[in-house]
């Protein structure tokens, strides 16, 4: 957003917590030190006075009042206490005082929350369309804190009533949170529940237009809703945007809890990041060139030499490309010296590049589907190697199973072989097992395996498990090589760096960690997520990792510094999968909320929000050009999405996108009407269903969940960017991958 950040309430909260030390009450001048002390003295008196008044100690109050007048203050406290000039409330500095003194009037009234919240909702419903979305967004944290406040004050029945009465306003966007909050029954629960703590200890980010914000303030002041005002002050971090921008949906205004103020988020997202490709090791480069040249220069002309010279051409072009685009060697992360595999890899890449199928919205890829049978719901994850020679799956029964996709026998080494006696290729062959099947179990974990990944050269496999370990397996020997301990809770995901050697894990302990294969301890701990880290992927240049979390955010971490450099907010459910385009500029994330969000890594902005899936999205993959995105989901489909087109939109991609969406859905989308009627049948009152309609018309996101807060809506509005849906036969798609030649691979387990 181009707007100026006022962050009024950040300052306000500081003022509030320091008492009134740095700001005099409305009518009192406060220049100079002495004056300030005097003023703070008065503050204290006022508080005491207020207390006495509510407790009914009239005599004491009177005495104090007289005392104060004798002091010769400019303004009597009584006057101050009875009439606070509303007009002066506009200035932010006054807010804390006002909140401090006038909340007391509402304090004793258990219905105050309910009444004022109802008024707020009614006022929001009747407000102008332009501001309605942001006002709805701001009403959610107010609602939550009102509910929690009621519990904290021991009014548990009132709280339950309050929840029952108003929760339906928010189930569409915050179904999960509401579900959890509803179960809180006592003060003790509020104090120890993780979610409640999250709301209490962090500020809830909201993005508003300046006018919308002012409207809200003046509404709260005019009606003396001090309780709400206090909530806004204490628990919200409102960020105003100037200029002629419009917030067209609730989710756009809703930044949510990130553990940072929006100023900090801005700071994060404006850090410089280098998204260029990793530089090619000069040794590897020369070696590749030499190999190709020697092959091209052979005397006998045949197809291989021709191919080699063509490859040389491609290599020269690719090299030039990368020199303009690559990171400087200083920026790149250190890598061990090349082992020869890299050269083969480079040549294979070049060949693949020449054979790559050009994909575009008009030319969709071929998808090869691997269906696993007899898994009996025990398979948790699956992956294929880059050269499509191996497929691996992680199972609940603590093992990893690998299959040779070429149906060749997988032969490990004999158990009695002596490494010292192996000197040549022949020796290697001699110590290999004589026979083998085309599939093999790797046994070693002591809990369900939640993630597997195969290195780029298909020589190593990583797996991670509930048993808090990640394990490295050699696919030559078919044995466990290293066991990495460090996480204290189950590990959800593991991912190799594109060039191998490094890998990252994501865990239930709310951290992601960076490891290198040759160290048994983590090199970096990426801490900052407020809930489980569900998935982790490396940026193509291995300088960054991207993590998706249950806290509904996606973060980008700098590997070298170990710090967070981008925070992406906008999901309404936990993020289960992320993917980065091969050119390293775009990132896509998806998860429980059935929406695929596409982000521009450079600016940290959302480019597109793609809806259409009717189940959790399990996996994402970009085509090599980055123009197509494939997604695999629990709804038993693979879908292809068109990516590039919104990047042509103006400098406000979000707004432009939103507006175009709005226009389209205004053309009476039948689906929108459907979902709407669902909402009504689930017991929405007229007011809120009207609100739903407004939401549904402008925002695809809101159609995702039905009123019960469960993601099961049958018909979801499909984004225009959806190019194609391929259904499977009752096979949820666990993984989609794109090979270097732009062949799509999908893996799923057939479930009954």
């Amino acid at each position: 957003m181009s707007g100026r950040n006022t962050d009024a309430f950040d300052d306000a909260s500081v003022a509030g917590s320091n008492g009134a030390a740095n700001g005099g009450p409305g009518g009192i001048g406060n220049s100079g030190n002495g004056n300030r002390r005097q003023a703070s003295q008065k503050q204290v008196e006022k508080i005491v006075l207020q207390y006495l008044k509510t407790k009914g100690y009239r005599n004491a109050e009177k005495a104090l009042r007289e005392d104060a007048i004798m002091d010769g203050a400019e303004t009597t406290i009584g006057d101050l206490a009875s009439v606070f000039p509303a007009s002066e409330m506009g200035s932010d500095a006054n807010v804390p005082e006002w909140v401090l003194f006038y909340s007391e009037a509402e304090q004793g009234n258990p219905d105050a929350y309910s009444q004022s919240y109802r008024e707020l909702r009614r006022w929001t419903d009747s407000s102008l369309d332009v501001y309605r979305h942001e006002l709805y967004a701001v009403s959610f944290p107010i609602f939550v804190h009102a509910y929690l406040d009621l519990h904290m004050r021991g009014l548990h029945e009132k709280a339950a009533e309050f929840m029952e009465q108003y929760s339906r306003d928010h189930v569409v966007h915050h179904g999960k949170d509401i579900e959890t909050l509803t179960t809180l029954k006592t003060k003790a629960h509020v104090e120890e529940n993780a979610l409640a703590k999250l709301y209490r200890e962090n500020k809830y980010g909201i993005r508003m237009t300046r006018v919308g914000f002012e409207l809200l303030l003046s509404f709260l002041q005019d009606h003396h809703f001090t309780l709400l005002m206090r909530t806004v002050n204490q628990y919200l971090n409102i960020r105003t945007i100037d200029g002629a921008v419009q917030i067209a949906s609730e989710s756009e205004a809703d930044v949510g809890i990130t553990g940072h103020t929006q100023n900090q988020l801005d700071h994060f997202n404006s850090q410089d990041i280098a998204l260029g490709s990793a530089p090619l090791d000069p040794f590897v480069r020369d070696e590749v060139e030499r190999t190709l040249q020697s092959e091209a220069g052979r005397h006998i002309k045949d197809s291989t030499t021709e191919e080699a010279s063509a490859l040389l051409d491609t290599f020269a072009r690719a090299k030039q490309d990368s020199t303009t685009n690559a990171l400087s060697a200083r920026d790149a992360i250190p890598m061990p010296p090349p082992r020869g595999v890299e050269i083969e890899q480079q040549i294979a890449n070049l060949k693949a590049l020449r054979k790559r199928v050009a994909l575009s919205p008009a030319a969709l890829p071929s998808v090869c589907m691997y269906t696993l049978h007899n898994t009996d719901n025990t398979m948790n994850c699956a992956t294929v190697s880059e050269d499509l020679s191996l497929m691996a799956g992680g199972f609940s029964e603590s093992y990893v199973k690998i299959w040779s996709l070429k149906r060749e026998p997988l032969r490990g080494f004999q158990s009695n072989f002596v490494p010292n006696s192996v000197n040549s290729e022949e020796d290697m062959e001699a110590v290999r097992e004589k026979t083998g099947e085309d599939s093999r179990k790797l046994i070693g974990h002591s809990g369900p395996v939640f993630g597997v990944d195969i290195s780029f050269d298909s020589k190593y496999l990583l797996s991670c498990s509930e048993d808090k370990t990640a394990r490295l397996w050699s696919l030559d020997t078919m044995t466990n090589v290293v066991c990495y301990r460090g996480h204290n809770y189950p590990i959800w995901d593991v991912s190799f760096a594109p060039q191998g050697f490094y890998f990252a894990t994501a865990s239930h302990d709310r951290t992601a960690r960076l490891w290198s294969c040759d160290h048994i301890y983590a090199l970096r701990i990426f801490a900052g997520h407020l809930s489980d880290v569900n998935c982790v992927r490396f940026h193509p240049n291995a300088k960054y990792v991207v993590t998706g979390s249950c806290d509904k955010t996606v973060r980008l971490w700098d590997v070298q510094r170990g710090s967070c450099v981008r925070v992406f907010t906008g999901h309404t459910g936990s993020v289960d999968t992320v993917a980065i385009s091969p050119d390293g500029r775009i990132m896509a994330s998806a998860g429980e909320d059935q929406t695929v969000n596409v982000w521009d890594l450079g600016s940290g902005r959302r480019m597109e929000s793609l809806t259409g899936h009717t189940g959790s999205v399990y996996s994402l993959a970009f085509s090599q050009e980055g123009t197509l995105l494939l997604s695999g989901s629990a709804d038993e489909t693979v879908r292809a999405w068109d990516i590039k087109r919104s990047s042509t939109a103006s400098d406000h991609p979000i707004i432009a996108q939103r507006q175009s969406e709005q226009d389209q859905s205004k053309a009476a989308d039948p689906d929108a009407m459907d979902v709407d009627s669902d909402g009504k049948s689930a017991g929405n009152n007229a007011g809120s269903s009207e609100k739903d309609k407004a939401d549904a018309a402008s925002n695809g996101d809101s159609k995702k969940r039905d009123a019960a807060g469960i993601w099961k809506s049958k018909r979801v509005a499909e984004s225009d960017a959806l190019l194609k849906t391929w259904r499977t036969k009752s096979t949820p798609v666990y993984n989609v991958t794109m090979t270097k030649r732009n062949l799509a691979i999908a893996i799923g387990a057939f479930t009954l």
Partner: protein
């Protein structure tokens, strides 16, 4: 509240705390509910990471372990638990898991259950260049349903006449549309030169890939609605051939749509006007095309040829079918190659000739065509047979044993009689050998 106070009370009594105060039970009930929810939220994470949508006892146990609580043992099972309802009469109904009593002695005596099949994978194309092939592994497109549903909706509230957008947008350029119209028009023309030009255009044009499905559709509908018009059918067959032979087109995904139409032209009861004899050539043509397809795609789709052969054989062996159908079936089987003739036709020839001898008197022409077709089949059998056998009555008698007297007579007159007899004898011997094995 999930747990009533009564439940808490009865549980407390069962563990030896006789009288709980009311306040305590309420607090307990609330707390239990909250704790349960916490555990379930945690367990849902495990469920989600196991890529499941059903919560299992295992998930709950893992969630408990994460929270450092002893898991509940004894409830984990591969199958989902079945709950039964018991009516108590006083309070609400009670649900319980039905635990089967197992007699240990009997269980130990029983044979071990078979090992469950190990996890295996199969591969198939979910999409080929973006198009989902209609193969067994892919679900049937639900599009027609969706369309029907949309239509019903439309008629339901006609007032707002919602325009339904098809799930798949098929963009056909204007040029292609014009081309298709022009071609189909030409195919309908009475001038054979125009028709031939249209067909050759289909056979050679490189840029009409998007129209393949339309042409296949065209063949199918034409065949279906023009069974009496031999000329139109011939054109349709020509189109089918053109589409197949065009080197720029990728017809593999559409073969399953093409084959039924062709088979119709082979074995249909009545093709052309009754009495006309033009349909024999048509059947030959279609049979040839079917065999070509089988040759071309037999490698990839192993079941293709057996399926076609089975269809034809069924037509051949059904005595209720008219002779024209039999003719088509014989021709079709012959076109599939010598081994098909040897295995499927030859053993049935004698029985069939008995039937044909009877028919010979009623409908001479048809019967003779069938007989000729059988002779052709025998010639096909002898095609690659080198050794000739000397003609003798002995040999003729032998042949008659296999193919019937009438046919043996005909063959005896044939210029290649020696070769055929040798081939038949060899084929019979081979069949016997394989039967013995």
């Amino acid at each position: 509240m999930i747990y009533s106070k009564a439940t808490i009370k009865s549980i407390s009594e069962s563990i030896g705390i006789p009288r709980l105060k009311d306040g305590i039970t309420t607090a307990m009930a609330q707390d239990v509910e909250y704790r349960l929810h916490e555990i379930i939220v945690e367990a849902a994470k495990f469920m989600h990471h196991s890529r499941r949508t059903k919560l299992t006892v295992g998930d709950i146990n893992r969630a408990l372990r994460v929270r450092n609580v002893e898991p509940v043992y004894g409830f984990e099972s591969g199958r989902p638990s079945k709950f039964h309802r018991a009516t108590t009469g006083i309070d609400d109904d009670v649900f319980y898991v039905d635990d089967e009593m197992i007699d240990l002695d009997a269980a130990l005596d029983e044979a071990l259950p078979s090992v469950p099949p190990s996890v295996a994978y199969t591969a198939h194309w979910l999409a080929i260049e973006g198009v989902q092939p209609r193969i067994q592994q892919n679900p049937v497109e639900a599009e027609p349903d969706a369309q029907a549903g949309a239509k019903r909706q439309n008629t339901g509230n006609g007032a707002d006449a919602v325009e339904t957008i098809l799930e798949v947008k098929h963009v056909l350029s204007k040029e292609l549309q014009l081309y298709y119209e022009c071609i189909t028009e030409s195919l309908r023309s009475s001038d054979s030169v125009v028709r031939a030009t249209a067909v050759s255009s289909i056979a050679a044009d490189a840029g009409i890939h998007q129209l393949v499905t339309y042409f296949v559709q065209y063949v199918a509908t034409t065949v279906k609605s023009n069974l009496r018009n031999v000329d139109t059918l011939t054109t349709a067959l020509a189109v089918a051939r053109a589409v197949r032979t065009n080197p720029h087109l990728f017809v593999e995904p559409y073969m399953h749509q093409l084959i039924p139409s062709l088979l119709t032209c082979v074995v249909s009861r009545q093709l052309g006007e009754p009495g006309s004899s033009a349909h024999w050539a048509l059947r030959d043509n279609a049979a040839e095309q079917v065999s070509e397809i089988c040759k071309q795609f037999g490698q990839v789709y192993h079941t293709l040829q057996p399926r076609v052969a089975r269809t034809l054989l069924r037509a051949f062996l059904d005595p209720t079918k008219p002779l024209s159908t039999h003719y088509g079936a014989i021709t079709g089987l012959t076109a599939l190659g010598t081994s098909v003739v040897r295995v499927l036709l030859l053993p049935n020839m004698r029985t069939y000739m008995a039937l044909l001898d009877v028919e010979m008197e009623k409908q001479e022409e048809e019967a003779r065509m069938c007989q000729n077709a059988l002779v052709r089949a025998l010639r096909k059998l002898a095609e690659h047979y080198e050794d000739e056998v000397g003609l003798s009555h002995m040999q003729k008698h032998k042949l008659a044993e296999v193919v019937g007297t009438t046919l043996a007579g005909v063959v005896y007159e044939d210029p290649q009689a020696g070769k055929i007899m040798g081939a038949v004898a060899a084929a019979v011997a081979e069949t016997k050998m394989s039967n013995q094995e």
